[in-house]
Every structure is written in structure tokens, then in C-alpha cells.
Amino acid sequence: MGWDSKPSYPPGAGQKVPVRATDAQKAAWEAAARKHRMASAGAFLAWAGDLYIALHRAWEDAVQEHEDALEGPGGADRRRREREGQP
């Protein structure tokens, strides 16, 4: 690939994750990296992965808050136990 990861990764980013891409994915990721002013498609993938997790956690928190609002504090846990058939 021949890209320099230094400007986009934090120090300590020593682990490596191989990712395979089709031509369409390669084009889309490289365009997205340029658009976000990132040095490489790899940096964009790392950023998108972290963003995905952050958004998922925010969604879970919002669901939890909503369930607590409906049933009071602990309501979400109670409903989860009921769903899983635990006392």
C-alpha cells in the first residue's frame, strides 16, 4: 500500500489489524480519509471503529435512561433479568 501512518496514529499504536477490502471499499475509504483530512485509509478505519463503538455505547445509555425513566432506577436491569428468565 505504501502509506505513512505516523501523522494519524497515537503513540503506542503498536498492534496491527489486517483488513481486506474490495475495490469499491478501497475507493470509498480512501476518499473518506481525504475528506476527513486523515493520512491514510487505515487511519480512517481506526477512527470509524472507535466512532462506531462510541455511538453504540451512547445508544445503549439512552435506552437505559429511557427504561429507567419508565420504571424508575434499576428498571432496565429488572426488565433484563425478566427477559433472561432470572429471578
Partner: protein, 150 residues
């Protein structure tokens, strides 16, 4: 199918987070999960804000010009029409003025230099039209118009 390979660098915490997420969502590898995460971000972004490509044909439509209403020939992609000319009327060939019209009201939306710019502006306004459930685009045009200077 041709396949490209990337190596994504991660710190220890990222690695743990990504591995856990990949396992939790049933991916066979962390790389496959990262690819899916990037694709889903791009898809969500496309749904949220990309211009909608419109299909154009030749046609005639009514426009409220400065001197009164008139039916002009041009190009149509409902609810938009484009004609060569300005609010004063039709222009001659190579006059470098094209006007975008909201056809249901016959209202002129903007005058730009090229037909291509008309189409691009309509594609962006189509998002507002779709979001407004078919009502006249009424979003703030400021972020859109400077991209297409007349």
C-alpha cells in the same frame, strides 16, 4: 474479485475494544468488523446528507419572470425546472446564465453560470424537498448557494 489489504494500527485499548465488539457482533475477525464499521458509517452519512441525483428531460414549464408569467422550454426533473436565461427572460446561446425554478409555484430559486451548476443545486435542494415531505424547499440556502456562484 480483486482485493486490497490494509494494516490498521491500534493501541492496546483499541485492540481490546475492537476485538470485543467483533466477537459480540459475531464477526469472524476484527478486520472484518472494522471494515463493516467503516462501511456503516459511510452509509449512514450518505443517507443523512448527500445530494440526491436527479434525472432530467427536456420539457416546458411555467415561470414567474420579472415581467409576468411565461411558459419556457428547458429541462425538467420534478419538482425542478432549469432554463437558459435569467429572471428577465430567455437567454441567447452561450449567455452563461441558467435559472433554476421550483415548478409547482413557478418560483425562481437561483441563477447560475452553467446548466451543470443548476443540476447540482437542484440535487442539493432535493434533500430539503424530500425532508419537507414535498413542500417547497425552505431550508436556509446560505450553505448551498455560495458553492454555485452566478
Amino acid at each position: 474479485m480483486k482485493v486490497a489489504s490494509y494494516t490498521v494500527h491500534a493501541d492496546a485499548q483499541q485492540s481490546v475494544r475492537w476485538n470485543r465488539a467483533a466477537e459480540g457482533e459475531g464477526f469472524t475477525s476484527t478486520g472484518a468488523w472494522l471494515a463493516a464499521a467503516a462501511d456503516s458509517y459511510l452509509k449512514a452519512r450518505a443517507r443523512a446528507g448527500m445530494p440526491i441525483p436527479l434525472s432530467w428531460r427536456k420539457g416546458r414549464f411555467r415561470v414567474e419572470l420579472q415581467g409576468g408569467g411565461a411558459e419556457l422550454p428547458g429541462f425538467v426533473s420534478m419538482p425542478f425546472g432549469a432554463f437558459r436565461g435569467t429572471a428577465a427572460g430567455r437567454g441567447v446561446q452561450a449567455c452563461h446564465r441558467y435559472t433554476l425554478v421550483y415548478i409547482p409555484a413557478g418560483r425562481i430559486l437561483a441563477t447560475v453560470r452553467t446548466y451543470q451548476q443548476c443540476k447540482a443545486l437542484a440535487a442539493e435542494l432535493a434533500r430539503l424537498w424530500v425532508r419537507g415531505d414535498g413542500s417547497e424547499p425552505s431550508g436556509n440556502p446560505v450553505p448551498v448557494l455560495p458553492i454555485h456562484p452566478a
